[in-house]
């Protein structure tokens, strides 16, 4: 770290903060991009990701949805959710009577100065009640989260970015999404915006808008439901970029940015993907 450069860095941060800290403008520009690329598809339909674009893939997916692989996870998650902690309290103590709270996550916690995802809130609830935190990627935490996502179905994302600190966190996620990384030199937006809907081998790339609506997701290759941070790690590894820790500040910011790009969209999680 070159300390002499610090004032310049602060200035750059302040300027960049002013120049790109308007999430609402980003949101509208992105929607315009997809409307131009797919004039026949309503934005709301992108909650189904690539299945809004590809009719044949949609057909196969709808068949999968007849007997969804994530159903067991929802049932197990519900049971876990309703099992009281050792101190007699439960998740309802933290989240209230309605477990369908996912439409408000991630949220920015001013006191912590951090983005709080639903998974972080679930584990925080456990810690506050003397229980151990659960592993982030797959397993019981993803099951509880799947049950809560299921209970949130039909609601619409209502993500708020209201303070300078929240905007700064949003910008960290935004920068991550648009930066090239890994030995393969990919940026998220290269596949999901510039070349959206194109085929990478047998898979189509999904639009950014709607990428957050359906998590956790059951994926065939995981043989389980997993959280969006598992997907972040997987995506990063695929471009040979060292994955970050799940629920690290940067990944939380990425989820914050990504979910804001799905703001107002209907929640339809948990989902199933190949």
């Amino acid at each position: 770290m070159n300390w002499k450069k610090l004032p310049a860095l602060f200035l750059a941060l302040m300027l960049s903060g002013q120049a790109q800290s308007d999430p609402e403008t980003d949101y509208l520009a992105l929607q315009k991009l997809y409307q131009q690329k797919f004039p026949d598809i309503e934005l709301a339909e992108f909650k189904d990701g690539v299945y809004a674009i590809d009719a044949k893939m949609r057909e196969q997916w709808l068949e999968m949805e007849d007997f969804p692989a994530y159903e067991i996870a929802i049932d197990e998650g519900e049971e876990l959710y309703n099992t009281p902690f050792a101190n007699g309290k439960s998740y309802a103590t933290c989240f209230g009577d309605d477990p369908g709270v996912k439409s408000g996550y991630p949220r920015f916690d001013e006191d912590l100065g951090k983005v709080v995802t639903l998974e972080v809130a679930i584990n925080q609830c456990r810690l506050d009640n003397g229980e151990q935190a659960l592993p982030w990627l797959i397993g019981d935490l993803a099951r509880i989260s799947s049950y809560m996502a299921f209970a949130s179905r039909g609601k619409h994302f209502d993500i708020k970015i209201e303070t300078p600190a929240a905007r700064a966190a949003y910008n960290v996620g935004k920068q991550f999404y648009y930066s090239r990384r890994g030995q393969l030199n990919f940026n998220c937006s290269g596949c999901h915006q510039l070349n959206v809907g194109q085929m990478l081998r047998a898979e189509r790339t999904s639009p950014t808008v709607g990428q957050a609506t359906h998590w956790p997701v059951y994926r065939g290759k995981w043989e389980d439901v997993g959280t969006i941070h598992k997907r972040f790690q997987e995506c990063n590894s695929q471009v040979r970029s060292l994955p970050l820790e799940p629920q690290s500040d940067v990944y939380r910011s990425l989820e914050y940015f990504l979910t804001f790009m799905s703001n107002g969209m209907e929640l339809n999680g948990p989902g199933s993907r190949r």
Partner: protein, 103 residues
């Protein structure tokens, strides 16, 4: 007796030179791997570390443990190059990413 002493001295001398060579090789590798580690840590700090850098670091250690110092050094050098490229990527991207945001 004198001759035996001389022969012993020569043999010890040879052994010492051989040991010195191995030691020099090990020092070379120690320097390289430390440098590779440092660059890799720097690439993490700037948020652009690559998986392949970690892979080559692992390969270097494995080869060193197996006594193949030539391969160990080659992998450490490759790790340094990869780490440098990833740091370069981070530097370039702090300027370029904003151009990709839809307007």
């Amino acid at each position: 007796m004198k001759y035996l002493l001389i022969i012993c001295l020569i043999v010890f001398g040879q052994l010492a030179i051989a040991a010195e060579n191995t030691a020099a090789e090990a020092t070379d590798f120690a320097v390289l791997i430390a440098q590779a580690e440092e660059k890799f840590a720097e690439s993490k700090t700037v948020g652009h570390a690559w998986t392949v850098t970690a892979d080559r670091l692992g390969d270097a250690r494995k080869a060193s443990a197996a006594g193949d110092m030539k391969l160990a050094k080659a992998n450490a050098k490759e790790a340094i190059k990869l780490a440098e490229l990833s740091i370069q990527q981070a530097q370039v991207e702090t300027k370029l990413w904003q151009q990709r945001v839809p307007k």
